[in-house]
């Protein structure tokens, strides 16, 4: 059962080929047996899952149940789950049990999906390798001495290892797409504001967005249909028509104009990765798409702009963790200042502290205009690059990241080496555009991701392109050794 896609599981559940209880127990057994090898899941909610599965089976028997009813999923541990620890990968929230559900969690609960547990992640979603998690790194199922990517590395590894057919994830600078690429699965970051962020622990509020991870584009379409909603509780969720993402999957892509940005194929791109991505472009051309050379001239400024904007917003968002209202508190504070500064020094890991300090610096008196003001202007330039490109093309394609999964510790002590991992993904967050990653090849037995960037709210078209690509390729069906 673990090799079935969600679309296949839905058919099996609705035709009573198996029950949700059987399916749920099957995945719980897999998690118990295999998760110790990967550390992808950090909380298992077996009792609650089985109760939800019993309820789902009743709804399925009654008929008319929603598509995802009875389907097991995992949530990234950034989404608040009522009564279940939500750590955000941090010691700061190791004891935090939210009294409410995130809207995304609520949407899946309404649909009758079964939550198996919570996935590991980089602390407060700050990282591209999962090495910053308080709970230890996640291992890549394709090669356990390599990182799974980050920050949604637990979700990506869990889907790749078939511990669940799908998982939720979030993306601030590439945190859905980069781990999806490194673990050989399909992941989608929707347009900013498409999915409610209520109950999703904030990192950088003008960039954060939640999205699905699964093995196929068809499954991502089903999941996004459940996740996307206009939410009164999130004033940044956008009132825009929600498409039927599954309905257009089989549209022909004949005549589709694909933009190929020269900046995404320049120095720093691994040769094998480039070959795989170029082959994918040829495959799409063979299906009738037209390749158009384009330029995104300000791409090179996206990483520097991001490392002003994201830390600045993070330093404000993370000021709430003060040891007073919830979460970690240091022992025996001698006064209030000591309570704050020791709680934060002991509760936050090194990378989170670094980003708070950078953000504080960029926002401090005398530096604000030179850093934050300048970065916001550059953000406008990056956005304009895309606006101009989308006047000529329907989608933009390129690599998701510069190379396949790297070894633990290989980025050394310089934080900037790790930051460059997101060089192709960050610009879409700055512009608020949707982006996805689809498996498109293997280099040294490690997966390569093809990135598809769409115009605002064009998720249906991106999923259509990805689905058509997956009809003529087999990369998304490959499983790590020992898994299938």
């Amino acid at each position: 059962m673990y090799n079935l896609t969600i679309a296949e599981l839905v058919r099996g559940l609705q035709s009573k080929a198996f029950s949700s209880v059987e399916l749920t127990q099957h995945f719980l057994d897999r998690i118990a047996a295999l998760n110790p090898d990967y550390n992808a899941v950090i909380t298992v909610t077996a009792d609650q899952a089985l109760k939800a599965a019993i309820a789902a089976d009743k709804r399925l028997a009654a008929g008319g149940a929603p598509a995802l009813c009875g389907v097991p999923i995992l949530h990234k541990d950034i989404f608040c789950t009522k009564g279940v620890r939500t750590s955000c990968g941090s010691k700061m929230l190791d004891n935090f049990i939210p009294p409410y559900n995130a809207t995304v969690v609520e949407n899946f609960e309404q649909a009758g999906a079964v939550v198996l547990g919570k996935t590991n992640m980089d602390e407060f979603a700050m990282g591209s390798s999962n090495e910053t998690s308080f709970y230890g790194p996640v291992k890549n199922p394709w090669s356990t001495d390599c990182v799974p990517g980050g920050s949604s590395g637990g979700s990506a590894a869990a889907v790749a290892a078939r511990l669940a057919p799908a998982a939720t994830a979030t993306d601030t600078g590439g945190s859905i797409r980069q781990p999806a690429a490194l673990c050989g699965i399909t992941g989608l970051k929707p347009t900013y504001g498409r999915v409610s962020r209520w109950g999703m622990i904030a990192f950088a509020s003008s960039l954060d967005q939640a999205g699905p991870m699964a093995r196929t584009a068809e499954d991502c379409a089903l999941l996004l249909s459940c996740m996307a909603s206009l939410d009164d509780k999130d004033s940044t969720s956008i009132d825009h028509k929600i498409d039927d993402y599954s309905a257009s999957l089989n549209n022909s892509i004949k005549g589709l104009k694909i933009g190929v940005p020269s900046e995404y194929f320049s120095e720093g791109l691994d040769k094998g990765t480039e070959q795989a991505v170029r082959q994918a472009l040829s495959d799409l051309e063979a299906q009738g798409a037209e390749l158009v050379d384009i330029s995104l001239p300000n791409s090179g400024l996206s990483v520097p702009a991001y490392y002003v904007i994201a830390p600045a917003e993070a330093s404000a968002n993370l000021s709430r963790f003060d040891g007073v209202k919830y979460g970690y508190r240091c022992e025996d504070p001698k006064d209030l200042q000591d309570l704050y500064s020791r709680t934060r020094a002991e509760g936050f890991g090194e990378e989170v502290q670094r980003r708070i300090l950078i953000g504080t610096y960029c926002l401090s008196a005398g530096y604000y205009q030179a850093y934050y003001g300048k970065a916001q202007q550059v953000r406008q330039l990056i956005r304009q690059d895309f606006t101009q490109a989308f006047e000529q093309v329907d989608v933009i394609l390129g690599p998701t990241c510069p190379s396949p999964a790297f070894k633990f510790g290989s980025k050394g002590d310089d934080p900037v080496a790790m930051y460059l991992e997101d060089i192709y993904t960050i610009a879409t967050n700055l512009a608020g555009l949707p982006g996805m990653s689809v498996p498109c090849g293997m280099v040294d037995n490690k997966p390569v991701g093809l990135q598809i960037i769409g115009n605002y709210f064009d998720e249906a078209l991106m999923l259509n392109v990805a689905h058509q690509y997956q009809q003529v390729t087999h990369w998304h069906n490959l499983a790590p050794e020992g898994i299938a």
Binding site: D232, P304, S319
Partner: protein, 95 residues
């Protein structure tokens, strides 16, 4: 961009993060490396470019000024480090 040790100490105070004396040199070096990266921004010609804080230049949706939150004081205080009679406790601030 070189950042000085004294600046790091000031930032640590502003950010309310205690930095251990033994790690301050390392913190300074790594922060300097990140600031060198972001300094690439200074080369960009942004004259006349409007700054944006929202990716799609959107505006916040407004709603009627009505109470929508339930009173969850008990549930919220149940997860606090220290409370008494419905109040959050912190070390004494007034002598």
């Amino acid at each position: 961009m070189n950042i000085k040790r004294q600046e790091i100490e000031k930032l640590a105070t502003l950010a309310r993060i205690a930095i251990d004396e033994s790690t301050i040199a390392e913190v300074t070096e790594r922060l300097g490396s990140v600031l060198e990266l972001v300094d690439q921004l200074q080369a960009a010609d942004t004259s006349g470019v409007e700054a944006i804080s929202h990716p799609m230049q959107g505006t916040q949706r407004l709603r009627e000024d009505e109470v929508t939150e339930l009173n969850q004081r008990q549930a919220l205080q149940a997860i606090a480090p220290d409370t008494e009679e419905g109040l959050f406790l912190v070390p004494k601030v007034i002598e």
